[in-house]
Subunit: 352 residues, 4 copies
């Protein structure tokens, strides 16, 4: 029973089948192949405008390369204190930007608070040479706390950013899960709400390794091919990246997979929340359940071989402060999580 990470799951049969089909005959290397062109066209269609699309194999590369396109080395990138780009990529954004500074912005439930963003930006005057220059805002949708910004919330933040001359990046590692929950169009959640560049993740939701950096204004992408190559992220057999993306996008497959994962999380959250002593500090909006568990439940789950991560208690708001006999954990569901695993976790919690 594995609830440790979306990455513990494999790929969907449809995606694997597409890989097999793509493995036929010869194709130009380094992205000059029909699959890659198709991916570009499919994503432009999905986002309802011509996009510049660059496929890479990891989310870290996707985020770090995108940010590097938005900030000079003497720039500051603003992201939520708990964002993945802040603390979970071993400094990849700093590496790819040649040393830009990532500045944490606070906010409840993993979401940047508009006032906090305004206040933080106020400490970075434009043109003051002794300070790094505010350059980009990175929003995670869904957030590292498994929560979602509404479209209006995104629009408010991107407006603050644009007024301060920042560009806006969206870390969409769980983009599909977010769209599935919000039920809006990809365009509405991104460029129509003010997002300039999107890191669109497919690896966590049904592919083996496929991420797209999507520029809604292709002009901003003019140097990106060099950045990607120089970072070692231009796969020689590009068709195998693109074939995954194409299959994933076909007939709403990506949303089917996300809906399944999200539904598992809802079931899990509902079941756990009914267990005495279990507290859910944040709303469950995608495929992640963050739960404060009585330690006896934590022990019972682990004893039963359920895999999941402990989560840092410092991220909890004071109203959810951890008590000595409690554990704070994260359980992640995927499209491939068996129904019975979800049921079993709830059952163990109920009887622990």
């Amino acid at each position: 029973m594995d609830f440790a990470s979306d990455n513990a799951s494999g790929a969907s049969p449809e995606v694997m089948q597409a890989l097999m089909v793509a493995n036929s005959g010869f194709a130009s290397a380094y992205g000059a192949d029909p699959w890659s062109l198709e991916a570009q066209a499919r994503l432009s269609a999905l986002f309802e405008r011509p996009c510049a699309v660059f496929l890479v194999a990891t989310g870290t590369a996707s985020n770090a390369l995108a940010l590097a396109a938005l900030t000079p080395p003497w720039g500051a990138v603003f992201a939520h204190c708990d964002a993945h780009v802040m603390g979970d990529e071993c400094g990849a954004p700093e590496f790819f930007t040649a040393g830009a500074k990532l500045v944490g912005v606070s906010g409840d439930r993993g979401k940047i608070a508009p006032d906090a963003l305004r206040e933080t930006l106020a400490a970075f005057p434009i043109g003051l040479v002794k300070q790094v220059q505010a350059s980009a805002l990175s929003l995670s949708q869904a957030t590292e706390s498994g929560t979602l910004y509404t479209l209006d919330e995104i629009a408010v933040l991107t407006q603050i950013a644009h007024e301060a001359r920042l560009q806006v990046h969206m870390d969409g590692a769980r983009f599909a899960n977010s769209i599935s929950t919000l039920g809006c169009s990809p365009a509405d959640m991104t460029w129509r709400a003010g997002v300039d560049v999107l890191s669109l993740g497919a690896s966590k939701n049904g592919t083996i390794a496929c991420e797209a950096v999507v520029f809604f204004n292709p002009q901003q992408a003019q140097d990106f091919a060099f950045r990607r190559k120089r970072g070692g992220h231009n796969l020689s057999k590009g068709r195998f990246l693109a074939a995954q993306m194409n299959a994933w996008l076909t007939d709403g497959h990506w949303l089917d997979l996300a809906a399944r994962a999200n539904a598992h999380a809802q079931t899990l959250a509902r079941g756990l929340s009914l267990v005495e002593g279990v507290r859910l500090p944040w709303p469950v909006q995608v495929n992640e359940v963050f739960a404060i568990l009585p330690k006896r439940i934590d022990v019972a789950l682990k004893a039963a071989g359920v895999r999941y991560y402990d989560w840092p208690a410092r991220r909890l708001a004071p109203t959810f402060a951890l008590k000595p006999d409690e554990s704070f954990v994260r359980l992640i569901a995927s499209f491939s999580t068996p129904d019975e695993d979800v049921a079993r976790v709830i059952e163990i919690a109920q009887t622990a």
Copy 2:
């Protein structure tokens, strides 16, 4: 008929099958899975000593990360003037090393000449603060000219390097093709001949995207996991990299594939060399044929839809200087090249 690049080929059926098999159930992310452990063990067995192994998806990443482990930012890395790391990776070695200098060393047929290496090194005194410090030698086996160093030649160069306190990297993008030709053991061609770190390529020879950085002295690898992560090259679903490597190494599959590609190149070289006016400037030792063609043949081949690259005439020695009615081209065979394509190229050349 595609002779443009090893990367134009897909993966072998065995490797694809392994991917399908690996796509079952859950596995720990980021390389903490059984497939990755198996790859580590298989490569250690192959090289007859415990190795530290890091899988990545591209050859550029493999080379650049390996070099970064061997040189400080104020170091110099020596490689053949025509080496892939010198001019074909958009400065990735400079990026990953944080600005080390790549210094070209000359030599016929794509191979570094020992005297040229000695002379070049003499211009980099140890400890002279105004100059970058000689830190690493990068050998390509096979070379960018499709030629091979003998084991003795490798040993001579690595000895010069070690005496000057340099560490030695081998760019083994066509490692399998090289071993297939030389018939020696992987250990003999690497650490027993003085190589410290190997970039072992599988992507060009039967996998979809799989390269291994192999440290023969695991102590030198202690920071490598951070470098890889920070570069965005730690794939979240590591099992899919390792599954490729494991299948590739099983039952000599890698050598079978390489032998097929090499044999095609031999057939092609033999056939072309018998055509009036065709000149082969370099011995054909792996799966690449570099040929000086009368322009009429070049035109006829292209008209027939044969894909291949023109190659820079400046790389030819004076005895092979290009005449006005000649083209200099590179044809690459792969394990999947059909016999009839090879035959057809020769036939076109004969009748052009």
Copy 3:
């Protein structure tokens, strides 16, 4: 009347005289001159042990180069949230470290609180690949709030750091002012209290441009000459840096200058604190006075041509929260500040 910055002052007559004397005859370039050797010897004597000393012309270079010697690019450097290296050097530490992360640690009065350091470090597990690795602690003595750590406080923090395998840097931009106040030996305030590398500043206190990076363990400095050269900080006519340092160190000149500046600040602080409505949020321990002024006084001072900086109110503890009719300002005294300027500021404040 200039209280804007220590850098608004010139150099002492003694230092200028030494420059004139040094400008005689020929001397080896790039630090291989007798003056530079003397500086090395003088500083080793001052610190009562053999030190590796590197002179540079700016405090930013001194700090950033020193930190780069203590952390890999995937490292984290911990400093007080308000430290100069955090926000006043345009990302120089990130540049020289090739992208390390600077992590702010909280604490009252500009001083890192031991518990805050422990808690922050706990969030950076050793060896966790997805996170940057805790590598160095940077302490500012005096702090950016003009306060001082006691020797015991330094020892507590360096012990926490060393136990977590960090090395300790001290930003001693106002080192002389600190020693002057504490009355201890330079050795006691640095290596005997656990400091590994010191950025010793003389520019703010009597020289035109002279800073020393002092390694108490010369072994750690083995690459530093390359770092300095590569950063463009190895002055060609090194004698002119060293001559400043030597004159500054001669016969306690550096402490005389610092004592004068500190005394001015004390006078200023005492005078202002007696004015109705003036509040001093932090103890005045070196040559800086941070004051909350009734706006009428702020206006009067500026109208009289007194130069000083407004300071960010967000740095104030809640008990000193700024009221609408107040300004928060920083006044800095130097060795060359005229007594009458200090008296005049107090007088204006009293009568405003």
Copy 4:
């Protein structure tokens, strides 16, 4: 008798006097002082157009920062194989450019040959993603061989560069010596001949440490203040840099100093060339004499305490190949070299 380096000399009395005068009263820090404004105005007047001027303390910083403004990290900078930026700055250009590649271009007498530049550029196709992109040309005037480009030669090279979309940097470490010899206007030798950015050196010719980066198109300089600050090259007491520059430029002082140094070199060259066995491989055009000496003379000079450097024989053209009993050396004269030292060197050579 010191002929080792221009940097072995001190500063001129006029420059030292200006430093003393500048050390009076208070001045705004970080370049916002009247001296710095004056330097900006003086240099704009000197170059007959509004320039953006940035003062720094070292030539390495001046060159590396200027190049960083002209190339992205994935760019290539072309310079003569023997240029100072290629091999004498410990990789500073690579550091400041975040890893751009410096590409050597050949040419006799230290001067880039137009055909060699064209051929080299031809190997860097615009837009080819696997290769770094040709971005800048760096010309040294005078060259590392002590020779000068004529104005026409500069114009030819800058035209080739501009047609290939490169920008042009001039390393003017010995700018004054060059102008003194050519007798042209500073504008003629720079922007009128196609130079975009100049590193104007004063340190080697009469100041203690003062260099200016001069942008002839101020628009290109918009990020430069951040680059300089981030590199630690924004001196806190900027008046002391600017005071040097202003004194140096006053009443043709810079040209007087250069003329003196150049005249010494002419005398030395004439005297040595008349000695049997002495060969001068390159014309002596500034303050440097490169001489092939019979070893007996080399020995005699060194025995007499004359300081100078051996120079790499590999830089000699075949017609000047070094014989076993010869030494190849560089002697540098400065404005402060005593006449009698020049005479004594010639005398020793004559009698050795």
